[in-house]
Symmetry: D2
């Protein structure tokens, strides 16, 4: 039994971690850090936790973390984890960063897209990118894990098999992303005010989304050239869920059926990736509250485009779920520990 | 380990049972009956089940049920369970009926409100009403269990303590019910067509809801006179959840705080009823996907009304969750088996 | 042609006034006051207005209002109009206050419920309460009009005929209100953050809503005793619309049909109140974007309760629509000017 | 004043026509045809019309249409209008077909995509495609008008200026479409059942949508080669609205600002197309209930893609609104007659 702490305890990522750890048989949650609500019982901040989780929120104190904590989840905004993790360098603590701090290997790219100072190079070199199905062997050895962004998770799991097999051209890849509003976090804003968002579909951060360089970097890793993909993002009036609809020009004629077989083979040992049958396409409700990434494929023979559609729950496979999956891998546990839920349907 | 079957396998109640049984350590689901989809894998009908539950749907055959099945859940429309259960009378099978067939002790009332023939009297006498927190001792001894309706569950758990303590008059009780659309079941209709229901609030079945006599019968059992309460029901543009806002004229002056203490005492051993603090009121999201019934209280001193507000997930505490809770009681297991989830939030 | 100004130009009430005035043939909108966005074109703040309304927002200057403005709408939060209107006392300007400042005749009640200083008594005496169908003759003579609150509009139009005819007891009246989220205004908050509100139903301000004394005051005016009704309010995941479900104990046996006839007679000259037929009940979508108040009635013979259900669009009959209707009455125009829309359906 | 009839009177397209004609000063609606509800008052079928429109529904009789009707709107499913219009050939009646019957010039294409017999060639040759802004001069002379599909309207208005100026390659154009559920029509189905659609995003008809050949045909007309674009469609949990996010590879380096100027010039006389400023992108709520098509542009310099985003209300500019606009053009009236609404916001 390992002891875990969560830093950034009042965001949606933290709440989802708490929900998952509640049924995890190898991890005990012993500490939740939230500066803004120091001293309060978490169930008084979040009534849905009443009688389930009564831990008191506290402020961050490094020495307290160093004593008795084995795993720390950083469910913090960008800019926090990169400053705290170095202070834990001498310990054996496993650090899981759910923010974007450690995802980009280039400090310049981080500065350009996050408009802030990047983590130091040593830290960036040490961190392992936790796209579980793709990087499993490195994750096993990781002490500092950088958990992928929500759009990159959905996009990369959908594109990497086709890229590795060189079925699509590396140029001109389009990723049209649609997300539920919980992806915008817990802080109210005009854009997420119910009367503005309900019954509305809104494109946002066109050309500016910080997940763009993350996708490019890892697509490039699985290709023999530098890949620059186009990502757009749209806010959908739903709470959870991401669908990425992706388009790549085929390098050769392909039958949908054969590509599906190839994808099924690619992911055959992965319990959380489900490649759907021909003419089936994933929806967000099909993965709601679960750690699944569902993938559907279609060859548009009229235009020689490969259409790949992936769906995840942004708070699960796109954040807390994948974080737990990665911790399971890092500790040699069954990957499904704490994650073995049937999606909530309807 | 006991073997369970579900009859009526393609409705929302059955789906929720499947979701819950997946993590229940004492029950194995071995049979799902669905006449309309005999032979199909359930995951081909419900893609969200893919890789989680691949059982094949089959038609009902009594002899097959009699061999090897210990528990049968009837997640069927009204009118089915009352005809099948008598055929299992000689067996030891535990029958849990989620329909309304066995809820009303009076055959006349059933005919009047369900517009159909009632179950035979012997069956009605044998069946135990499964309002878990209130009838626990009878449920322990039950073989045939009648699972309560969704509105009655929310209404009775909210009203019974006040009635038993004679804090409110038995006359003039008002129950204003609001429900998510999954309560209307899986079959599409004009009333549940998305463009009609979205961004809309609709009263329905005013004066005609079949849960009215069920509420009256069990309120009367906990009072010394026959109680006739007014129930109205409203369709709310959300998938899951019920809130009942209830009004009773106080028999005497009361402080909100004291009544809350009394309710907390009344439910102190009940893991699934949470009585909220003063000035806290329950919302459906606070219990989403869980078996909780949250209750808030307020004395309106201006009008001498006691306002009781209860919230449940209609598919959980209002159907499948309470059914599992009852099976746990019937078999002497921890009531939380298969139900120990933190509500899905947000 | 009269010239109008709107003070408080960036809230939802102001936006709805702008939408309605666009097709009003007797009123020209010439000024929109918004301190926070002085100098900006309103269409740059609200892109949906692009090419339709390009007026520049400006700060409040009394002398500018006194020159050339005939009608001022105050679509401001409570506490603003009561300070500005006295400065216009010597002019002929018609003032329509959509806030609560002038609705309560008692300064003590205002202080108790609004937690702020009340308007001066002279102003309160002069202001006419603009419940159009009920107070039409006084409205015709009004110069300062206090536009009713959204819940009071729905509740009073539903209850007054029954009270005037003494069909229901004045004691124990229950008003269970459900509202869309636009009623909470334009300012983002945790309670109106999309992930918190979507797929959720939340009771709020139980026992504390500032519309309670407003309802009591005007119910009392139409009764021969002081009436204290119970109002509860619930936030529903929809943008617009209010349903009030109301319960009153009948003083005598009554048939639903006869009461409907009486209501139809009561409102027979009113173009914006539609009394529905037996077994029809109003929904918010049935009045979406229109100035209608739809009313359905049902006598619950089991409990001798009269159930009255009314539905309005909170931004229309509950705010801007009724304000325009009142201006039409004040100026002797057809009441439907600017309001002759078929509800938006679906 | 001209007399109009609507055939197919109980669908959403017809309802929207009724709403618009109510304020149209040159057209009087005198007949609504609905076989399934012959004899009923339309307001008893659609309560929102009560007191606004009480016309009785009737069955189709050609002789009755030939007497006194000047304009007929066909708001029918595919396969109806093509059989009725020929019977009206000798009259002066203006026929507006909102279905897909007359949109494809190739009978083979119609058969392939609609799985039904095509209209006869004479009729196809006579019908004018009513994309108002693009085909205005032909529409002026039309007697039989084929009203465009909803996705084609949004896609073509967004793409045609870029194609005509040869800014993008004709190969590899991607149109990622997102639509509200009213686009699926009035008939309930599993896909549009509220609990399935709410809080869900679902791709549908991938590679099979009947709007694909319509888009190709009219893109090709505005290019010097045959264009084959990729269209995908996604069901979004909202009632109204379409957003098309479109991607075309630039033929040359371009600045966003310059392309916006070009688009603004292209549409400078069009009251219903609004080209947004740089870094502004359209949302469905910005056009809700109105006839606007809003267009935003962005050059993705990293990938040399032009991103074009257009938004319409599918029942307005995507159906009934454009139909009225076309009738206005055909009759030489101001294009805004019956359409001069500010979008409903919020």
């Amino acid at each position: 039994m390992k002891n875990a702490a969560i830093v950034g305890g009042t965001g949606y990522g933290a709440l989802e971690l708490i929900r998952l750890l509640h049924t995890h048989t190898e991890i005990k949650l012993v500490k939740v850090i939230s500066h803004s609500q120091d001293g309060m019982a978490i169930s008084s901040v979040y009534p849905h936790l009443k009688s389930m989780e009564d831990i008191a929120l506290e402020i961050l104190e490094i020495p307290a973390l160093l004593q008795g904590i084995d795993i720390i989840f950083f469910a913090t905004p960008a800019g926090i984890a990169k400053n705290i993790i170095p202070e834990l360098a001498d310990s054996e603590i496993q650090c899981i960063d759910l923010s974007g701090d450690l995802r980009l290997s280039s400090q310049e790219q981080y500065k350009a897209w996050y408009k802030a100072e990047a983590a130091n190079e040593g830290l960036l070199d040490t961190a392992v990118y936790g796209l579980s199905e793709i990087n499993r062997s490195q994750i096993k050895e990781a002490k500092i894990l950088s958990n992928p962004g929500c759009f990159p998770t959905a996009a990369l799991l959908g594109l990497i098999p086709a890229l590795q097999h060189e079925h699509i051209h590396t140029e001109g890849i389009i990723i049209d992303g649609k997300t539920g509003v919980s992806g915008a976090g817990k802080t109210p804003s005009v854009r997420t005010h119910f009367p503005e968002t309900n019954d509305n579909l809104t494109p946002y951060k066109i050309g500016e989304h910080q997940h763009i360089p993350e996708i490019d970097q890892y697509l490039s890793e699985h290709s023999n050239v530098a890949v620059h993909a186009t990502l757009t993002t749209h806010l959908v009036p739903m709470t959870r869920g991401i669908v990425c609809t992706m388009y790549g020009r085929l390098t050769d004629q392909q039958a949908t059926e054969r590509l599906i077989e190839e994808y099924q083979h690619f992911y055959e040992k992965d319990r959380f990736v489900r490649v759907l049958n021909e003419r089936e396409f994933p929806s967000t409700k099909g993965v709601y509250g679960s750690n699944f990434c569902d993938i559907g494929l279609h060859v548009d023979t009229r235009t020689n485009q490969l259409i790949i559609i992936s769906a995840i729950d942004n708070l699960m496979k796109g954040a807390a779920g994948q974080a737990i999956q990665n911790v399971n891998i890092m500790n040699g546990w069954d990957e499904r520990k704490g994650l073995n839920h049937i999606p909530m349907y309807p």
